[in-house]
């Protein structure tokens, strides 16, 4: 299912213009990352897709149907939503949290729980955790439950608003891998919000770099954006102009090369110089 933003503007009642004349095509079965710093309107954009926020002008189309013509509650039940801090219901057990949307859709408890158990497996949660309450899980486990809940009704569209923003870097990388694996199988249309560049480069089929007010600085594949930043803003945001991504290598005493960034900060070790490796490849 493709999603189209057409000249979308959102002015909040207090006069804040969160998004100004934003247009974007989100292709089916791919992951589009909205990348930008705090307050640039990412959450506002993603929430307009499931009508948590209604645009002041412009429209959002899902497969050419304007979401404004769809009843919000029904719309939300067919779109997966995963947010930071998981947003799990503290008074429901893990299994019931995952089964939330199927249950709202009127599925029987037995069917919904069966499906929830499958999903726990898919997102890498031990089924022994099913009877726990969210607060009895680690932050990383809670996020997995959040992803499982987002997938439970088998939606075609998955909205993810900084879903891994609150977990430590190691767990974050693990969750990103898990999501990539799931996406290879399920091929959902995903809109993924983050302000983490590495996360965007890892997950995005298409990356949209945003400036304040939802102004698009560049749209492209991760390779496009790293190789050919469209302007100074993008280069700066990705740290491409800074010393951070211009690497140099120096020979090590024990063999191999020590790689440092432009500021001389050591990043890691390669065992063979890049040119030698390409010969052996």
């Amino acid at each position: 299912m493709a999603i189209d933003f057409q000249n979308v503007t959102k002015t909040y009642p207090d006069g804040t213009v969160a998004v100004d004349d934003f247009s974007l095509h989100v292709p089916s079965h791919t992951c589009t990352v909205l990348l930008g710093s705090s307050g640039c309107g990412k959450s506002t954009l993603i929430r307009m897709v499931n009508r948590m926020v209604d645009p002041s002008s412009g429209s959002i189309l899902i497969d050419d149907a304007d979401v404004a013509t769809t009843e919000p509650v029904a719309l939300r039940r067919r779109i997966g939503y995963v947010m930071q801090d998981s947003g799990l219901l503290p008074h429901r057990r893990v299994i019931d949290n995952i089964a939330t949307v199927p249950r709202l859709n009127g599925e029987s408890k037995a069917d919904a729980h069966r499906r929830a158990h499958e999903l726990m497996d898919i997102v890498g949660l031990d089924s022994a955790l099913a009877r726990r309450y969210p607060k009895q899980l680690s932050g990383g486990q809670q996020q997995r439950v959040g992803v499982a809940r987002g997938l439970a009704a088998d939606p075609n569209i998955l909205l993810m608003d900084e879903p891994f923003g609150a977990v430590d870097p190691l767990v974050r990388v693990e969750l990103q891998r898990e999501l990539q694996r799931i996406q290879t199988d399920l091929r959902k249309t995903i809109i993924f919000v983050t302000h983490d560049i590495d996360e965007a480069l890892t997950l995005g089929d298409q990356i949209v770099v945003l400036k304040k007010g939802g102004e698009v600085a560049q749209i492209g594949t991760p390779e496009n954006i790293v190789e050919a930043p469209a302007n100074d803003f993008v280069a700066q945001f990705l740290g491409l102009d800074s010393a951070r991504r211009s690497l140099s290598a120096a020979p090590r005493e024990g063999g191999g090369w020590l790689v440092s960034d432009g500021r001389g900060r050591p990043l890691g070790v390669v065992n063979a110089a890049p040119d030698q490796r390409s010969e052996t490849d």
Partner: protein, 213 residues
């Protein structure tokens, strides 16, 4: 002690009468406070007015209220209905603020998330906000329960039978054990009800055990 044993049937009857006045009042105060609190939270500018306004009801002296209410309600002074209404008003005074605060305290992230996954507003209130406000509602209910149990006794002055009658009789006829029994039974009843409420809370809200977020 001997007096108490000799009068056990009467004490039992009075305890029962006491409960029959207190329990309906506690229950109706709770049930009426909920929609008032909900509405007060919805209409933000009116919230403080409603919450403080009902809170002031507690300042009404109880005895005059017991006497004035029958005129408004058209019941007799000794009618139990009169007493229950008066007790409900005092219960409301305490419960509306507790309930408004309890419903307000539900985490906004959880509200947002439940809306995002497709709860309708009504369903969200009953399946998410109300249960999550549960522990704070229970705390308010416990205060109302203790306060009501103790207030019931005042109605004995009007001649309505309750554990308070043990004080009034005791004073009139100079029977100290009767007064002592009245105090003891009222305290025990308040304690018993409190323990029952805590136990019910643990059964209904297992997720809230052991602190929490």
């Amino acid at each position: 002690m001997e007096w108490i044993l000799n009068n056990l049937p009467r004490i039992t009857d009075l305890t029962l009468a006491h409960l029959l006045l207190a329990l309906p009042a506690v229950a109706s105060a709770f049930l009426i406070a909920l929609p008032i609190a909900w509405a007060a939270n919805r209409v933000r500018p009116l919230r403080e007015v409603v919450v403080s306004g009902t809170g002031l009801l507690y300042a009404i002296p109880s005895l005059p209220l017991f006497i004035v209410l029958p005129i408004i309600l058209g019941t007799g002074v000794r009618d139990t209905f009169n007493v229950i209404v008066a007790l409900t008003i005092f219960g409301l005074a305490l419960m509306v603020r507790s309930a408004a605060d309890a419903l307000d305290s539900v985490d906004s992230g959880v509200r947002l998330a439940s809306t995002a996954v497709g709860y309708s507003p009504a369903k969200r209130f009953f399946s998410v906000e109300l249960p999550l406000a549960g522990p704070a509602l229970l705390a308010g209910l416990r205060v109302v329960s203790v306060s009501t149990i103790s207030l019931v006794s005042v109605s004995a002055v009007l001649g309505v039978q309750s554990l308070g009658s043990l004080f009034t009789d005791g004073f009139e006829r100079g029977i100290v054990p009767s007064i002592a029994a009245g105090i003891l039974m009222t305290a025990l009843l308040a304690l018993l009800l409190d323990v029952l409420l805590i136990a019910a809370g643990r059964v209904i809200m297992p997720w809230a055990r052991g602190g929490g977020r």
